[in-house]
């Protein structure tokens, strides 16, 4: 009797989520597994698709290849060390001392965070190229040196490590500063009451507790350095050496050696997975979960007479990572040449004019970039939203697999994904090479983990009882989602959209392998213009990219959020 009447609406809910689950699983599997499959297929076969290990033998027996691997790993390791050396003292000064302008310092570090590394590398070209670099010109003028003398050479191994560390040290800084913010002061008080001097407390209690955060940040910095294409391509190639990523890219140049490129991508993939495992292991160890106590404000150390020294250190770092590079970009964008002096006479809009009106490729690239940014952000956010709902509420059997698939691309470096996608879709079956579709697929895959992680943590913040309360008062599953969950997630959704959008418009590593003359993007144009040495135009484009990014962040932060956004207690 009544039971049959009730059974219908209940079953409809089940039927609704099943197909969605299957559809999403299929989409994610295609996005993630398809390129990996083709990558492995090419790596382990010859052009006739017969199984072979020759590709790897060739890799290992090629001294140039071995050298590029060695250099890349050495470079990445040094970046990790340098990032820790810069970021840890800086994080401590900002989080735990009475250093003035600490908030301002944090904001500027964030600014170096959002700077695409390839743009930073170009800025450092402007500053420290041996002949045309501003620093070297100043050096020659001030010290009256011959024209072939120089102080810095950014086109060198050391220069590359420096330029990458400038834009990866924020990973360490952010993690360590957050950890220091959360070390409860009573742990330090406990050490002090037992008789430890402040330096002992610092070295025996405070710093050991943030070591995991520092290591985790360093591993991310190393990973970024290892998989980065832009900076090495800009700085290492003129210096006459290759790293893994540029080597893979060079294998795509005519005549393309696709099997070899696929094989070269495999070690990079394995290294990435190992680094991420290592990071998870370090952060997951039990003893360090004390971070997050809520007992009292963190202790503040008074710097006293060391204050000017500390300020000088922090200001120096910020000059190198943010202030000088941006000053160089702005100057180059609005003066005739790099070495022109700064005055009203040398001010010009010719680069702006060139980029916007004379150079035909720019407008297409701008359009493509914005289109792909909006599409990727929208589709990625939508998929992440549904996936994280299904995973968080375990509404379908096996929903967890969706989360695994959505997170998996985090372990696939951009250039490796580029190789995989090229092999998957640039063939007669799909014919996607040379279209925007292949780029859309690439960006969706690259950005899916970030989108999913943001939204799934947002879902975890919404207590399931909030939805249940709405159900028991008479709302259907969909109505509860729409009236309760959706409004509470609005800010997270907007933030995720912006995050993905900004990530997309600056992507270069995968793009460089998948782009053609018709599907140029701003990042690729910047790279192309660098080849032809047109730094004025690059500076304009780079600044435009940054302005758009900051504008999107600003709009997002101004969204009306509603007064009752906070979770109730309990």
């Amino acid at each position: 009797m009544a039971s049959s009447a009730y059974a219908t609406p209940f079953n409809r809910g089940i039927d609704f989520s099943k197909p969605v689950f299957i559809l999403l699983a299929a989409i994610l599997a295609v996005l993630v597994l398809f390129p990996l499959f083709w990558l492995l297929l090419y790596a382990f076969t010859d052009p006739a698709r017969q199984f072979t290990l020759m590709n790897f033998v060739k890799l290992v027996s090629d001294p140039a290849m071995r050298r590029s691997f060695g250099l890349a790993i050495g470079m990445a390791a040094l970046v990790g060390v340098l990032a820790c050396a810069i970021a840890t003292p800086m994080a401590w000064l900002v989080a735990r001392t009475d250093l003035p302008y600490a908030r301002f310092v944090r904001i500027l570090v964030t600014a170096s965070f959002v700077t695409p590394p390839f743009l930073g590398a170009i800025a450092w070209e402007i500053l420290a190229a041996p002949n045309s670099g501003i620093f070297n010109i100043l050096y020659r003028v001030l010290f009256d040196r011959p024209t072939d003398d120089y102080l810095f050479n950014i086109y060198s191994f050391a220069g590359l490590v420096f330029a990458i560390a400038c834009y990866t040290f924020p990973y360490v800084f952010t993690l360590v500063a957050n950890a220091l913010d959360r070390v409860p002061s009573d742990l330090e008080d406990a050490s002090a009451i037992l008789g430890a001097k402040w330096l002992t407390t610092l070295s025996r209690v405070t710093l050991p507790m943030v070591v995991p955060a520092m290591l985790a940040g360093a591993l991310i910095a190393i990973l970024q350095a290892l998989t980065m294409f832009g900076s090495p391509a800009i700085l290492a190639l003129p210096a006459g050496f290759h790293v893994i990523t540029t080597k893979i890219w060079s294998l795509f140049q005519f005549p393309p050696k696709l099997e070899l490129a696929a094989a070269a991508a495999i070690p990079l993939l394995i290294l990435t997975i190992l680094l991420l495992r290592g990071q998870k292991w370090i952060l997951g160890r039990k003893g360090y979960t004390v971070l997050g106590g809520k007992s009292g404000a963190p202790r503040v150390t008074e710097l006293g007479k060391f204050k000017p020294l500390a300020l000088l250190f922090v200001f120096g770092i910020l000059c190198l990572t943010v202030i000088f590079p941006y000053a160089a970009l702005i100057k180059t964008a609005f003066t005739e040449t790099i070495d022109a002096s700064i005055s009203w006479d040398s001010f010009t809009l010719k680069h702006l004019n060139f980029v916007l009106f004379d150079f035909s490729a720019t407008r297409l690239a701008l359009f493509n970039t914005l289109l792909l940014g909006v599409l990727t952000a929208t589709v990625c956010t939508a998929i992440s939203l549904v996936v994280s709902y299904l995973v968080a509420r375990k509404s379908v059997m096996g929903a967890g697999i969706l989360g695994v698939l959505a997170t998996a691309p985090v372990a696939i470096p951009g250039i490796v994904l580029g190789v995989g996608l090229f092999l998957s879709y640039a063939n007669p079956t799909f014919k996607l090479y040379g279209t925007l579709w292949i780029l859309l697929i690439a960006f969706m895959t690259i950005e899916m983990p970030a989108g999913y992680q943001q939204l799934s943590s947002a879902f975890q913040g919404v207590h399931p009882e909030l939805e249940e309360a709405s159900r028991i008062l008479g709302a259907s599953r969909l109505k509860a989602l729409w009236q309760i969950t959706a409004p509470m997630l609005r800010t997270s959704v907007v933030a995720t959209w912006c995050f993905v959008f900004i990530g997309t418009i600056r992507e270069l590593s995968a793009t460089i392998l998948l782009t053609t003359a018709n599907t140029k993007l701003v990042s690729v144009i910047i790279y192309d213009l660098n080849e032809s040495g047109d730094l004025g135009a690059i500076s304009v484009l780079g600044l435009m990219l940054m302005v758009v990014s900051f504008f999107v962040v600003y709009i997002a932060s101004k969204m009306p959020l509603g007064a009752g956004r906070l979770q109730p207690r309990g």
Binding site: A7, S470, L473
Partner: protein, 355 residues
């Protein structure tokens, strides 16, 4: 006929039966407390009644209609119930007024009627002044009352409460117990109340259902449960007690360790094996001299600890056989540690427990 009926209700997660063959009848308008330690299946039972989870076996009937059975369960929204959650589950993006009005809006009531009913319930729960606040701007007790108001305003057939007071501090908890009972007396909704706090259950319930390991241990009025426990688990869980164990030696007497024979005024004896005897702390008489005219229900022991608690003294007495008996005595009975005392267990206070 009972209003809410649980028939052979079972819920398994994997091979673990969290709720196992529960049978329970709840009369219309009564307040039933599911009481038990954590992990006993009480919250799962409540969520089965609410329809958030589907039973693996058995069924739930409300007003004679089957609403839950494996594969054929009504969704929560079709049950005309409301629920108060442990976390209160107030929607942080809605004001107090909007939170309370939500259920009425879903029922498509007219604006005027919604206003009348929300205003009425807000004044009953003493929240009128806070109607335009957001939940984050309220204290814990106020949030709790909003949660009550939101659940009551829709006039549900059944009201479910999941440990509603566990997030409040002690004073407020006591006040809210009486508040819940007062509102129940005013509205007479059929209510199922889950708690692990026995005094909460005593204050509020018409019927207490003690649960243990997924099953019902005993169901009865607060007096039944306290004065006539049927198992050792219930006797221990509700109010402190001393448990002695021994063999039955006559129709009503159990011989315990150390030569203590207890004649039991009530209860049931195990057919074979040991019988447990429960004697509440305050039902034992403590004196310096041997009680007259009795060779059962008394034993001498040594004071192991004595604490002055203002209204009474709390004693631990070691008896032959090594057992420790806890008892209370008036402040005037002050016997120092180490001295011998006599414990007298009046038969009417000794309850034999077969389980």
């Amino acid at each position: 006929m009972a209003f809410v009926e649980l028939v052979g209700l079972t819920k398994q997660f994997g091979s673990l039966a969290v709720v196992n063959q529960v049978n329970l009848n709840i009369e219309k308008g009564s307040l039933v407390c599911l009481l038990g330690p954590s992990g006993c299946g009480k919250t799962t039972t409540l969520r089965l009644i609410a329809g958030f989870i589907e039973p693996s076996g058995g069924e739930i009937r409300v007003g004679g209609k089957r609403i839950s059975a494996p594969g054929a369960s009504a969704p929560p929204e079709a049950r005309n119930m409301s629920m108060i959650f442990q976390s209160y589950a107030l929607w942080p993006h809605m004001t107090v007024y909007e939170n309370v009005a939500y259920g009425l809006r879903l029922r498509k009531l007219s604006k005027d009627e919604i206003r009348v009913r929300v205003d009425e319930i807000l004044s009953i729960t003493k929240l009128s002044a806070l109607a335009e606040r957001y939940p984050a701007e309220l204290s814990g007790g106020q949030q709790q009352r909003v949660s009550l108001a939101r659940a009551l305003v829709i006039k549900p057939e059944t009201l479910l409460l999941d440990e509603p007071l566990s997030n409040l501090d002690a004073n407020l908890r006591e006040e809210m117990r009486f508040e819940i009972r007062r509102l129940h007396d005013a509205f007479r909704y059929t209510t199922v109340y889950v708690t692990h706090d026995q005094s909460e259950a005593m204050t509020t319930a018409d019927l207490i259902v003690v649960m243990n390991q997924g099953g019902i241990e005993q169901a009865g009025s607060p007096e039944d449960i306290y004065q006539r426990p049927e198992s050792e688990f219930v006797a221990r869980f509700i109010g402190g007690t001393n448990i002695f164990r021994g063999k039955k030696i006559s129709a009503d007497t159990v011989a315990c360790e150390g030569g203590l024979n207890l004649r039991c005024g009530s209860g049931s004896f195990a057919a074979q094996g040991d019988t447990a005897v429960s004697v509440r702390h305050h039902d034992i008489l403590l004196s310096e001299h041997k009680p007259t005219a009795s060779d059962t229900n008394a034993i001498a022991g040594t004071v192991a600890r004595q604490i002055y608690l203002g209204s009474h003294r709390d004693y631990l007495v070691t008896i032959p056989g090594g057992e420790t008996v806890r008892t209370v005595a008036p402040v005037s009975v002050a016997i120092p540690v180490g001295q011998q005392v006599w414990l007298n267990f009046p038969p009417e206070n000794c309850r034999a427990l077969a389980r």
